[in-house]
Amino acid sequence: MTDTPLLQLRGVYKSYGSVQALTDVDFECRTGEVMALVGDNGAGKSTLIKCIAGIHPMDSGEILFEGEPVSIHGPKDAAKLGIEVVYQDLALADNLDVVQNMYLGREVNRFQILTESPMERKTRETLSSLRVTTIKSIRQPVATLSGGQRQSVAVARAVMWNSKLVILDEPTAALGVAQTEQVLALVNRLAEQGLGVVLISHNLHDVFETAHRITVLRLGRNVGVYERAKTTQQQVVEAITAGQPTKVAGIASTQGVTG
């Protein structure tokens, strides 16, 4: 892991009307690292990734990507930097096949006429490099795939574009045990291949199985960053639910209620 984080956010504020969604949040993710982002409902996880992905621009704060200050005003800015988001609701079109979904919005074409064979080849390569091997045909509609396979396609699509940072929003929320294992293995492989991975999850078991570090958000504030190896699930649960603000400067005074 290098010294400069791949992605670094400093002092992010974001409000929706009168609701303060994020208050002075710092966040970082390094190359080759799985950084988990956890927190209760309404803690600001989704808001934070929407800021990073450029869907909702933040009110104030700084984004550094590979050490350089950048501004992200839309999904295209994020994609240009190499930031890809895999959303909870998958964002796949069920009626299209695997190749069509992988290239959705970025189809290979000559004068607007599609050229299918390079798209098929690259799809196959990407899937096999991630060792996604359970999909029978890359020409079958996504509607016919299992939940784990769909998630794999969504992840593969995110990494296909020379992306450097992949953000996964609840990738295992709708999956069974075996498929969850499949997807978590995939998450590990992404980090091994040198990508930065931000993993948003409710499931601490998943988090402790894959993440290198864990950032905890509570009520729109960053209440702690934990090394997985030096932390117990109990500590993280406490950070999510209430008191024990550890390693956070400046906001400790506002905490104090113990759950």
């Binding site: 079109a93 919005g105 607007q112 196959r124 060792r131 091997t133 016919t144």
Partner: protein, 405 residues
């Protein structure tokens, strides 16, 4: 796991045997146009035997005349249904095209007396702009297309009533030839041969090129069936039509637009985005597709095709009257797309569905007419078939959701 990893080049696992695949398709409700094609064949036999003067070249030519205008509208409706919207204004928009050509071709004391081709061009521009207008309200302001085009239905009917003195007889030869020109026999054969030749080349070209690059032919049996059946049907049609007055120009338009629009839907970036918007508009948006632009363009296609259909219909009557775009035209155009297998839920369907559906509806109307059934009975039968098709579509959708899990 390892087998596939070692052989990433093998495109797809070898296909299962044909009967197994057929069963699989039946199970998951993925039947394509086959039930409707089956129905067309059955109905052809029923009418062929029960109505004496039904299976004649004259009536066949007549049938093609009846379906060519409606078919154009239905082509446009397919695109609108593909993005999960509806266009209820197609029939009266087609009437607008009729009014525009009729008014503009009127010779000088009454009208400007423009040349026929210019009248046609202006009419098509008008209807395309109407589509752009309605589409913009749907796509930019997000008013449901049902309401926008329902208002359009009323408005354009009103414009037709205001814009016509009663009946205008079309004297311009170019406009009347859109429907009324029949190709000389030789030209019919030549064009038939060209269509067959290019079809065979196009459908064999891809797989053969693929073979050279090591891809397996995806479906050899089906390919052979298609390569034999489509040319056979084409040449039989030419032969049969040549026994009457020849191949009508309107049929050329039907076939040409089928090929053009199928290419647009299946082989272009735009077409891919149309399917994506219909399948999951939010996914399309997040993938960076300009969804409003796609929606507006689709309504423009619908307007253009309605215009083309309206010109064929006007040309067929050689006149335009206050009934232009009225009657069962709207219902037939939408019913044709749905009966042919285009999903009402968006994202599923093909341009050819419109043609297949129109053929079925026109055959029923034409055949029952020959057997002197009243219009009421024809409506009841067509409506029942539409209900059947829509029910089937809904059930298929539910089966497919289940099969996907």
């Amino acid at each position: 796991m390892t087998a596939a990893a070692q052989a990433p080049e093998s495109e797809v696992q070898p296909l299962e045997s044909l009967p197994r695949r057929v069963w699989e398709n039946v199970r998951t409700g993925n039947l394509g146009p086959w039930p409707v094609i089956g129905a067309i064949i059955v109905i052809a036999f029923v009418f062929g035997f029960s109505a004496q003067n039904w299976a004649t070249p004259v009536n066949f030519t007549n049938l093609i005349g009846q379906l060519s205008g409606t078919c154009m509208l239905a082509y446009g409706v397919v695109f609108v249904l593909l993005i999960g919207e509806i266009d209820l204004s197609v029939a009266f928009v087609s009437g607008i095209a009729g009014v525009v050509v009729a008014q503009l071709q009127q010779p000088s004391p009454v009208g400007p007396g423009l040349p026929g081709w210019l009248c046609i061009l202006i009419a098509l521009v008008c209807t395309t702009l109407i589509g752009a207008f309605q589409g913009s309200i749907v796509a930019l302001i997000l008013v449901p297309s049902f309401v926008v085009t329902l208002a359009g239905l009323l408005i354009w009917q009103g414009v037709i009533l205001r814009g016509l003195p009663g009946v205008i007889v079309i004297q311009d030869k170019t406009i009347n030839d859109v429907y009324g020109y029949f190709l000389p026999d030789t030209w019919g054969w030549i064009l038939g041969a060209v269509v067959c030749g290019s079809y065979v080349l196009a459908s064999l070209g891809g797989p053969l090129l693929g073979l050279r690059h090591g891809f397996a032919v995806r479906d050899p049996a089906m390919l052979v069936v298609k390569v034999v059946a489509i040319p056979a049907i084409t040449l039989l049609t030419v032969w049969y039509l040549n026994r009457d007055r020849g191949v009508p120009f309107a049929l050329l338009l039907v076939v040409a637009m089928l090929l053009l629009l199928t290419f647009l839907a299946k082989r272009t970036t735009f077409g891919r985005h149309v399917y994506a918007v219909g399948g999951n508009a939010e996914a399309a948006r997040r993938a960076g597709i300009n969804v409003p632009r796609i929606r507006i363009l689709v309504f423009m296609i619908s307007g253009f095709m309605s215009g083309l259909g309206g010109i064929i219909l006007a040309s067929r009557l050689q006149s335009v009257d206050l009934n232009a775009g009225g009657g069962t035209l709207l219902i037939e155009a939408i019913a044709a797309a749905v009966i042919g297998g285009t999903s009402l839920f968006g994202g599923r369907g093909e341009v050819q569905n419109a043609l297949i559906g129109t053929v079925l509806i026109a055959m029923i109307a034409n055949g029952m007419n020959t057997l002197t059934y009243p219009q009421g009975t024809i409506n009841i039968v067509t409506g029942a078939i539409l209900l059947l098709a829509a029910t089937f579509d809904t059930i298929v959708r539910r089966i497919q959701v289940r099969a996907g899990r």
